[in-house]
C-alpha cells in the first residue's frame, strides 16, 4: 500500500525536513463558494507522495507565505496530492488564485495522524463539521479500502447550509453504500432542502454504533469538537477512544519554533491528532 511505501521524496524529506518541493497544480475543484481542492503533482514525475491520514503539509505560495493544510486525498493514490482549502486570509486567498499549471511549494507530510490501526475490529464513528471533513476524508478512503477490518462505520457531517456541503460526489457514493452509515445535517436551510437540519452533535444519539467497542474521531471547529466529546461521553464512549484534530498557527511545522505549542505539547509534531484524554484540559482552558 502507498502508505507503507517509502518513496524517494520522503527519504529526502526526512533528511532535511525543511526542504520545499515544487508541485504543479494539475486540477482545481470548486467545493463551495469559499472552499476548493487542488490536485497537485510533483515536478519530478516519478516521485510519489505517501502520508498517513490526518497529516498535513506546509503549502508555500512563492512570495506570499506558508500555511499548514491537511492532506485530503486518497492515501492509495500516491501520485496525486490533494489539499482542500477554505479561503480565510492572505495565504489561503493566494492559494485560491492558483491555476492549472502553476507551481506551489510543498514540505511535509508532518504530524501524527488518525489511529486507523487502533480501530481495527471496532466500530468507527467520524464526527465532522465544515472544513473538518477534509482531514477525515483520507480516513474514510482507508477504512473503505480495508472494510473487513472494521465493525460499523458511521459518518456524521454537519455544514452551515446545503450550499456549503463539501465533496458532494464522494458523499453520494458513501450514502449509497450499505456498509457505511452516513448522516448529513445543516445548520439552516430553505424549503428546497429535504435533509436534516440541526447541529451535527444531534446526530450522535441517532446513529447505531456500539459505544463500548468503538473509536471516535472528530474534526471541525473546536467548539463543535467539545460538544461532540460531551455527546459521545453521554453515549458511554471512553475518553481514550475519542480522538480530535487540533489547529494552532504554525511556522516551522517540525517542533522547532514553538509557535504551535500548547502546554507541553507541540501540535505540529505531537499532533495534530490527539486522544481526547490527553488534551481534555486544553479543551476546557478558556484562554486557548
Amino acid at each position: 500500500m502507498a502508505m507503507a511505501r517509502k518513496s524517494k521524496a520522503n527519504k529526502i524529506g526526512r533528511d532535511n525536513p525543511m526542504l520545499v518541493f515544487p508541485f504543479t497544480v494539475a486540477r482545481v475543484i470548486r467545493e463551495s463558494h469559499d472552499t476548493f481542492s487542488l490536485e497537485l503533482e510533483s515536478r519530478n514525475r516519478r516521485r510519489e507522495f505517501s502520508f498517513v491520514p490526518g497529516q498535513f503539509n506546509m503549502l508555500y505560495v512563492y512570495g506570499i507565505g506558508e500555511v499548514p493544510i491537511s492532506i485530503s486525498g486518497d492515501p492509495n493514490r500516491s501520485k496525486v496530492l490533494v489539499h482542500t482549502t477554505r479561503e480565510v486570509g492572505t495565504v489561503t486567498r493566494a492559494i485560491r488564485k492558483l491555476k492549472v499549471g502553476d507551481t506551489i511549494g510543498v514540505r511535509g507530510p508532518y504530524g501524527r495522524g488518525w489511529p486507523i490501526e487502533k480501530a481495527h475490529g471496532h466500530d468507527v464513528v467520524l464526527v465532522t463539521g465544515g472544513i473538518g471533513l477534509a482531514p477525515l476524508r483520507p480516513v474514510i478512503y482507508c477504512l473503505l479500502s480495508n472494510r473487513e477490518k472494521y465493525g460499523k462505520i458511521v459518518l456524521l457531517y454537519g455544514a452551515r447550509t446545503p450550499e456549503d456541503i463539501l465533496y458532494r460526489k464522494d458523499l453520494e457514493r458513501w450514502r449509497s453504500r450499505f456498509d457505511l452509515e452516513t448522516y448529513l445535517t445543516v445548520d439552516r436551510a430553505t424549503g428546497a432542502w429535504h435533509g436534516n437540519v440541526g447541529v451535527v452533535t444531534s446526530l450522535i444519539g441517532r446513529s447505531s454504533f456500539d459505544p463500548f467497542h468503538c473509536v471516535a474521531m472528530a474534526c471541525g471547529p473546536e467548539i463543535m469538537m467539545r460538544f461532540t466529546m460531551l455527546e459521545l461521553q453521554k453515549r458511554g464512549v471512553e475518553d481514550a477512544r475519542m480522538f480530535v484534530s487540533m489547529e494552532r498557527s504554525m511556522k516551522c511545522g517540525i517542533g522547532l519554533c514553538g509557535h504551535c505549542q500548547i502546554g507541553s505539547t507541540f501540535v505540529c509534531k505531537d499532533g495534530p491528532v490527539y486522544s481526547y484524554n490527553s488534551v481534555r484540559n486544553i479543551f476546557m482552558k478558556r484562554e486557548m
Partner: protein
C-alpha cells in the same frame, strides 16, 4: 390501545415510566398520519399536542418575509417534537411540515395537562423528561446561533 401502549412504553423518552402512568398517557394518545408537504401545525395556532415520530421526517420552520420558509430543525423516526402544549399561552412558535409521509403518535396536550394536574407524580415524570428535551434544544440552538462554521472569506 394495546398497540399504542406498546409503542409508548418502548419509546426511549418514556423509558423507566410506571405502567400505570403509561396507561394514563395512552388515554390521551392517537395514531396520526401526515402526507408529504402537509402542515402539522402553524405558528400562532393553539398548541394542543406533541408527537412521537414512528416513520418519516418533519421540518420545523419559520417564515421570514422576502426569504420564505427557513428550516430550523428536522425531526425524524424515534424523535419527539412539540413542547408548546406545556407552557402558556399554549401556542406554536414555529410551523411543522411533513417532509415525507410521516406516521406519528399524537398526545393531546389538553388531556395531558388535565391528567398531570390530577396526578402530580405523572406531571413530575413528564416535566423531568421535557426539561431534558428543552435543555438539549437550547444547547443546540446556541451552537446554531454561534455560526461555528464561520461566515466565509474575510476580504
Amino acid at each position: 390501545m394495546e398497540n399504542l401502549e406498546r409503542i409508548l412504553s418502548e419509546h426511549p423518552f418514556l423509558a423507566g415510566m410506571d405502567t400505570k402512568h403509561i396507561q394514563l398517557l395512552v388515554g390521551c394518545a392517537s395514531n396520526v398520519v401526515f402526507q408529504k408537504g402537509e402542515f402539522i401545525f402553524r405558528e400562532g395556532e393553539s398548541a394542543d399536542a406533541f408527537y412521537f415520530i414512528r416513520h418519516g421526517k418533519v421540518a420545523v420552520e419559520t417564515y421570514i418575509p422576502q426569504k420564505g420558509p427557513i428550516m430550523i430543525r428536522s425531526r425524524s423516526e424515534g424523535e419527539i417534537f412539540g413542547w408548546s402544549w406545556l407552557v402558556p399561552p399554549y401556542r406554536w412558535h414555529f410551523d411543522a411540515r411533513a417532509l415525507e409521509l410521516t406516521r406519528a403518535v399524537a398526545l393531546d396536550g389538553k388531556c395531558l395537562r388535565g391528567k398531570c394536574e390530577e396526578d402530580h407524580d405523572l406531571g413530575y415524570e413528564i416535566m423531568k423528561r421535557f426539561a431534558l428535551i428543552i435543555a438539549e434544544r437550547l444547547e443546540a440552538t446556541r451552537l446554531q446561533l454561534m455560526d461555528i462554521y464561520g461566515d466565509g472569506p474575510k476580504k
